[in-house]
């Protein structure tokens, strides 16, 4: 939402210069969402609205526990409910708190054309700096998790900030504070990974043999991680990508194409100039005018005789 000067930037959209980075004691943070402990109470959703002063317009009941049905500019986190049957026919109610994953390699930031509209702080949080956002929607195309939403009101893109404003002053994110079961934890990424490891051992001992940590390597890991009972098939959790990565289409557009295109344009302009220098302009010669006159006379053009000579000779 806004620029936090208490954190170094490690990445800044559409910028080629190194951002200020004199601080050197900023630990990487992570939010750990233990899906296996979640009871679906939506306290995190309410806390997010509360802290960030977001109030969505009241919608309609769509026959689902999901409320609202999708993320939007004022819904930065959303509980997604899935009724899933395992191969023995047992029903499991999978509840996943959806929102920005704060990728270590953020596709939104890579795609963004506006300098400083998307930044990544040294603690790993990916934040949108709204005043720099131009509302083009490129972040939507860059994101492997389908998270950013463009507001129709101010034409700017919004998503979870991981409560960067709270984290910057030593508080945990609002959703973490509100969670009544301890399903959402916040701390350094290494602590969260260790804690998840203990939790996964516990889950495996209780029959969830595919329990695991969701910290996808395709985006160099994320600063929001899940403990899943079925980490072998993340997609059963309301379409969590099995192997998220920045689309190769986006990489081609933002990677290879840009330097090649600029070089091509520069080459074309220089080639034109060099042609001018080497060969020079193609000018109409007096002989051309004479030949033209001869032809017109031969055809008996009445007005092609007297006024013609001397006109538009090259200088």
């Amino acid at each position: 939402m806004s620029d936090l000067q208490s954190q170094n930037y490690i990445r800044r959209s559409a910028s080629t210069l190194t951002p200020p980075s004199v601080r050197n004691h900023e630990a990487e943070v992570a939010k750990l969402i233990d899906v296996t402990r979640c009871i679906g109470c939506k306290a995190c959703q309410a806390a997010c609205m509360e802290w960030n002063d977001l109030r969505n317009e009241i919608g309609y009941f769509e026959g689902s526990y999901d409320n609202p049905m999708d993320l939007d500019p004022s819904t930065w986190t959303l509980m997604r409910f899935t009724e899933w049957e395992d191969d023995k026919g047992n029903l499991e109610w999978l509840i996943r708190k959806d929102g920005c994953m704060h990728c270590e390699d953020p596709g939104c930031l890579k795609a963004c054309p506006a300098p400083g509209a998307i930044v990544q702080y040294e603690n790993g949080i990916v934040d949108f700096i709204s005043e720099n956002c131009i509302g083009c929607g490129y972040c939507v195309k860059g994101c492997p998790f389908n998270i950013p939403r463009i507001s129709p009101v101010d034409r700017k893109s919004y998503k979870c900030t991981l409560c960067s404003d709270r984290v910057a002053v030593g508080l945990e994110p609002a959703c973490v504070k509100a969670c009544p079961t301890g399903a959402i934890l916040f701390g350094s990424k290494s602590d969260m990974t260790d804690w998840a490891g203990e939790r996964i051992v516990d889950l495996k001992s209780r029959g969830f043999e595919n329990a695991g940590l969701y910290d996808p390597p395709g985006v160099d890991g994320t600063h929001v991680m899940y403990v899943l009972h079925h980490a072998d098939t993340p997609s059963i959790y309301a379409g969590l990508p099995d192997n998220p990565q920045i689309s190769t289409v986006v990489s081609a557009w933002k990677g290879l194409l840009k330097p090649i295109a600029l070089a091509g344009i520069a080459f074309a302009a220089v080639a034109g100039f060099m042609h001018w220098v080497v060969v020079g302009p193609n000018e109409v010669q007096p002989e051309d005018e004479l030949e033209a006159e001869r032809l017109l006379e031969a055809k008996g053009q009445p007005d092609a005789t007297d006024e013609r000579p001397g006109m538009d000779r090259p200088v």
């Binding site: 080629t16 929607g137 557009w253 010669q285 006109m311």
Partner: protein, 224 residues
């Protein structure tokens, strides 16, 4: 417009206005598009009142360009139909580049290079339009999938680069071949220019006593 007597009309008034509307749109689209294409050129967004304005205005200029270019297609498509002689001209292009046109096949109203520019733009501008619609934030992105938008934005960028390259060629040709610029600003050329560059067109005009295309006249009928 007053012009020296004995000169030939190359482009009529309506055509010239149409061309320059197209040109203005193209330049504005290139500047605003490049601002959003590469961070090095984001400063160009200042010409449009900032990034938000650049993003907002770019598609609207694109619509004007599409309509305007459609006007040029209507006026020019017939003279740009490809024929066998264009191949011969293309094969002799090294002679053209060297300003040695004696042995180059005679050219009608447009040469193969001009036809290439015309058809390239006739292809690229609709491609830019349709891919641009797919990524027009706020109006159409709710009707297209994100995956489709990813392809659309890549194709849009590729087509834009191609169009800019064609445009550079077009502008340089106008500078290089003296007299062409005036043909599109004031509308006339001298008989010598027509003899040198578009001899077949010139012969057709001379044969019919025409001084060039008039509204409702493609140049093959006498204008008086």
């Amino acid at each position: 417009m007053t012009r020296p007597r004995g000169t030939l009309t190359r482009f009529g008034t309506v055509t010239r206005i149409n061309h320059w509307i197209t040109a203005a749109c193209f330049v504005l689209l290139t500047l605003s598009g490049l601002a959003m294409f590469h961070p090095l050129m984001f400063w160009l967004s200042g010409l449009f009142g900032g990034g938000q304005w650049t993003r907002a205005i770019h598609p609207w200029i694109g619509i004007v360009l599409l309509i305007s270019y459609a006007g040029l297609v209507v006026q020019f498509w017939r003279d740009n139909l490809w024929n066998r002689e264009d191949l011969a001209w293309t094969l002799a292009f090294d002679r053209v580049l060297a300003n040695e046109e004696e042995d180059v096949p005679e050219v009608a109203r447009f040469n193969a290079g001009q036809k290439f520019v015309f058809w390239s733009m006739a292809l690229l501008i609709p491609a830019l339009f349709f891919t641009g619609i797919a990524i027009w934030e706020g109006y159409f992105t709710s009707y297209t999938s994100v995956e489709l938008q990813r392809f659309a934005v890549l194709i849009h960028s590729l087509a834009a680069i191609a169009a800019i390259l064609v445009w550079i060629t077009h502008v340089y040709a106008g500078i290089w071949v003296r007299g062409s610029m005036r043909a599109m600003t004031q509308g006339y050329v001298t008989p010598g220019w027509a003899w040198r560059h578009h001899r077949k067109w010139f012969r057709a005009l001379a044969a019919t006593g025409s001084t060039g295309p008039q509204p409702g006249n493609d140049g093959d009928k006498p204008s008086k």
